[in-house]
């Protein structure tokens, strides 16, 4: 079980509004797992519950360590990097500062090495290191968010709708990088995505979430082959 992310019987919501009703799934170490589903299904809520942004009932364990009930900063210190919806850019700070914040809970000279590594993934950021992050384009900000997350040297990367608001070309580039990261760094990735095509393209496992419940699970290929999914999320019939 080493570094698997295990979620069991997860309930979460906002105030009186329950959103997740007993979600259960496992992501094996080094795998990419895609969470699909319509708007309002609870995908973002699921990621928030995983990273501790909202309180949840149930069990979440990472490599046997329980994440449930921990605050987001504690979860981050355990190696879970959450790239939130809207990217969470620190607008007035420079690109470099944004990246360094990613490594906030780590110490040591390796931070400088990691900065170099990020530059190889995202050459575009290197040119803009001293620029205010708020002045970046949407795609660049998304790359910055990914870069910031990588600076944590995460065991698990949680990506919330990385394609939102981006041009198709940029999105494709982004997913290419995520895949590269996954293969090169052996980082576990959970990606929530409307664009099921792209997500399934890099995922090994996938789950379909509807009204707070997982209605379908399987390998990426199985999910792609499912007629319902094809109709609803892939926009074509099999």
């Amino acid at each position: 079980m080493s570094e698997d992310l295990v979620v069991e019987d997860l309930h979460a919501g906002y105030g009186d509004a329950r959103v997740l009703h007993g979600v259960r799934f496992t992501v094996r170490q080094g795998e990419v797992c895609a969470i699909l589903g319509p708007n309002g299904a609870g995908k973002t809520t699921l990621l928030r519950a995983l990273s501790g942004v909202i309180r949840a009932r149930g069990t979440i364990t990472l490599g046997g360590t329980s994440l449930t009930g921990r605050s987001p900063d504690a979860v981050a210190r355990l190696g879970v990097a959450h790239v939130p919806e809207g990217r969470g850019t620190f607008m007035p700070l420079t690109v470099e500062e944004n990246l360094r914040l990613g490594a906030y809970v780590r110490r040591g000279p390796s931070v400088e090495e990691d900065l170099e590594r990020i530059h190889t993934y995202f050459p575009v950021l290197k040119k803009r290191l001293k620029q205010a992050a708020g002045s970046l384009s949407g795609g660049e900000q998304q790359m910055l968010a990914l870069g910031r997350a990588l600076m944590l040297r995460p065991r698990v990367l949680l990506l919330d709708e990385p394609s939102l608001g981006l041009a198709p070309l940029v999105t494709r580039e982004l997913f290419r990088i995520v895949q590269a990261i996954n293969t090169e760094e052996r980082t576990t990735v959970v990606v929530v995505e409307q664009n099921a095509h792209l997500a399934l393209g890099i995922a090994q496992q996938a789950h379909v979430l509807e009204t707070g419940r997982i209605v379908l699970s399987g390998t990426a290929a199985e999910i792609r082959a499912d007629e319902q999914v094809a109709q609803s999320y892939l926009g074509y019939r099999v």
Partner: protein, 293 residues
């Protein structure tokens, strides 16, 4: 002309006082989005601590260090005990809590130290610097110098230390700061502590000029608000520049605008606040709240 320049110098002297308190206001606003109405009273209370230390026989500079340390701890404690329980409550609830704190601290200071004025040692020499027919008091220069020094230290802290980076991250995006592992609660407390410390510096600076009593900062507060508004509520540099501008504007208006005279001078901050908010709501140095999606 010399008379005019002299008025400007006087204005800068008053402005330095406003600037120092505005700086403390801005620090808290930056990190928490709270306008702390009790900021001036906390500064006043800190000054009393310094006074008590000096009265107990401590040398001034040691007393200052002790006061700054106590203020820092006190600021953090207030965040923990008074503000934390209402964190996330509507803006107005927090405003009212700081108003309650204002009343409480003011009365507590009067209770402990009475409402009689205390003499507070002036760390700067008396006398004045004379040049070109203008005289600048050493204490005015001292206040300006210390405000500049505090600004500089804050700049170093925010730009070149990891803690400072974390604090700016919290100010910019608390939710996201939490996700990168920053303990936001601790940082907010740190912000309050820092603001209380800057406030303490402000109080110690102005006490020899305004004379120490529990209502010392009451009159300064509205000018500090005007300064912070003018400079931009999220810009420490703006607070200082704003303070100086407000001080000069107020002094010149009082001296040269017949209708205003010295009794209606307090209309100056009103005009400044209103003017800034209508023409440039983010202030001179603030950043527009518009963010790119």
């Amino acid at each position: 002309m010399a008379a005019f320049l002299q008025q400007v110098v006087e204005g800068l002297g008053a402005g330095a006082i406003y600037a120092s308190l505005a700086l403390a206001l801005v620090l808290i606003y930056q990190f928490t989005g709270i306008v702390n109405f009790a900021q001036g009273e906390l500064a006043m209370f800190s000054t009393y601590i310094a006074w008590q230390c000096v009265a107990a026989g401590m040398p001034f500079w040691l007393a200052l260090v002790v006061t700054l340390a106590v203020s820092f701890a006190g600021g953090m404690l207030i965040e923990r005990i008074i503000i934390r329980p209402v964190e996330g409550a509507p803006e107005l609830t927090i405003v009212i809590v700081t108003v309650g704190l204002f009343i409480f601290v003011n009365a507590a200071a009067g209770w402990i130290w009475t409402f009689l004025i205390k003499d507070f040692p002036n760390p700067f020499p008396g006398g004045a610097l004379e040049a070109a027919g203008i005289s600048v008091n050493f204490s005015t220069l001292g206040v300006l110098g210390v405000v500049a020094l505090v600004m500089g230290l804050l700049y170093l802290l925010f730009q070149y230390t990891k803690i400072g980076l974390g604090m700016r991250a919290v100010a910019a995006n608390p939710a996201s700061a939490r996700l990168v592992g920053i303990r936001v609660g601790r940082t907010l407390a740190l912000g309050w502590g820092l603001a209380a410390t800057v406030g303490a510096v402000s109080g110690v600076l102005v006490a020899p000029l305004l004379f120490l009593e529990p209502n010392m900062m009451g009159g300064v507060l509205i000018y500090a608000f005007a300064a912070a508004t003018l400079g931009g509520f999220d810009s420490p540099l703006g607070a200082v520049v704003g303070g100086l501008v407000v001080g000069v504007a107020e002094t010149l208006a009082g001296a040269y605008v017949g209708f205003i005279g010295s009794d209606l001078k307090v209309g100056v901050p009103l005009v400044i606040i209103l003017g800034v908010l209508l023409l440039r709501p983010q202030g001179l140095f603030g950043r527009a709240a518009v963010e790119r999606a």
